[in-house]
Amino acid sequence: MHKNGIVDIELLQLIAAYAYVIVLLAIVRIMGIKREKIIVASTIRMTLQLIIAGYVLIYLFNHPSFWFLILLFFLMEGFAINNTFKRVKVPLNKELKIITAYSLIGGTTLSLMYFLLVVIGSDTWNDPRYFIPIAGMLIGNSMTGISLGINRLIDSMRTERDRVEGALMLGATPKMASKDIVNKAFDASILPTINSMLGMGIVFLPGMMTGQILSGTSPLIAIKYQIAIMLGILGSVAFTVLIFVHKAYKVFFNKEAQLVLPDETEEKRTRKE
């Protein structure tokens, strides 16, 4: 049905979209790929989350409140931090958890404020219509970036232990000894954002832009928003990960500039000599 030039999706059409997932489930089952449960669970979870988000947004748009907005922002940050801990393959110690939390909050807040106050305009910065979707995009992408960064940092500290210790033996400071690992962790974190930027407009149209165009916005306006938000995402991911890696590598060294990996005892290694 057309509403103000916008094609609304009727309930039956939405059910048809779910039917498409049922076809996918049937194919997955026939091929013996045991992923039915995760597909069903994530479809249900996404549906519920979006329905709740829709009603919260409607309420917020109709009753704008600064403090509720701030509360929502920290709720989003909280979920993102918790999700990051879940995505990391190994249990994080308290210190790394604290660094992860303040990197994510610091990096996204800085980028969000710059984006809302400078790029969008100072008078509309606390308008829920801008604040919530932009915050969501920045936090979501930064969460993915920092998760990749943590995994790479921890993995590399383990796999490149000999190289780090070899550098320490030659008089390197912990910062010098872990420089390559820190740089690689940063690369791993921003690579999905960079790849997304490279393919944008040629390989695919980004979700936000597609949504705007479908809702009747001129493609030219949609493009301007997409460019701005993409640069915001890049900045947010980069700042979040930069704060993280430049603090987190220190966790792997003690005050005597010795490499300390919590789950591997020195005894085991020394016995190998």
Binding site: D162, G171, A172, E256, A257, Q258
Partner: protein, 226 residues
């Protein structure tokens, strides 16, 4: 940067009741300055642990290690390692070419970088006939070990801690390289401490031989012929 003026009469390291887990216990040991000392023992006897303790890469669970009469706890680890450099048994090769791998020790220690001709001279000393621009990761195990030795020699440290420095070399190359390394160290008035499982090698190059068994010193022998 050297911490104080050299004094040939002083011990470079003194260990007093040093314990590391159940791996090593040294009641008393003195390693002399400007001498070549070999630590000999079988695999798993605690030789590498001792070198790591001297490099402050690990800390003892008990006892005290003195470096030139100063307890190691009182010396900043990074400052110490720029003077007391260790080479691990498996040579560490960093990303980049041979030049970058030679210079990296000096860069870590924030020392002045020498010109290419000095780097070539050092490669010649360890018998490595390679171009400086060659990628270091393509070298064989023995060549990597010689590159790592040349890297330490370029740093001209006061103390060299070498863990099985010739383990990947054949007999002829071992003789050639070890003699040159020891000569170079003596000329520079450095103290060399090397770990080996081979008693003949220890006798050939070391002025003092410390034998370790099950984490404890079983003998200390002087060698007049080295």
């Amino acid at each position: 940067m050297r911490m104080e003026s050299p004094d040939s009469e002083k011990p470079v390291f003194t260990l007093n009741k040093v314990k590391f887990k159940d791996i090593l216990y040294i009641k008393k040991l003195t390693i002399k300055e400007k001498k070549t000392t070999a630590i000999v023992g079988r695999s798993g006897s605690g030789k590498t642990t001792l070198l790591k303790l001297l490099n402050k890469l690990i800390s003892p669970y008990g006892g005290t290690i003195y470096y030139r009469d100063i307890p190691l706890e009182a010396i900043d680890a990074v400052t110490l390692r720029r003077e007391v450099v260790m080479m691990p048994q498996t040579p560490v090769i960093f990303e980049g070419n041979i030049r970058e791998n030679l210079l990296i020790g000096l860069k870590f220690s924030e020392k002045k970088l020498p010109p290419d001709n000095k780097l070539m001279d050092m490669l010649h000393v360890v018998g490595l006939d390679k171009k400086l621009d060659e990628p270091a990761h393509r070298l064989s195990g023995g060549e990597k070990q010689r590159l790592a030795l040349a890297r330490v020699m370029l740093m001209e440290p006061r103390v060299w801690l070498l863990d099985e420095p010739s383990s990947a070399l054949d007999k002829d190359t071992e003789d050639l390289v070890m003699q040159k390394v020891v000569d170079f160290g003596r000329r520079n008035e450095s103290s060399i401490v090397f770990v080996t499982h081979s008693s003949p090698m220890a006798w050939k190059y070391a002025e003092e031989m410390i034998e370790i068994e099950n984490g404890e010193i079983v003998s200390i022998k002087q060698n007049q012929h080295a």
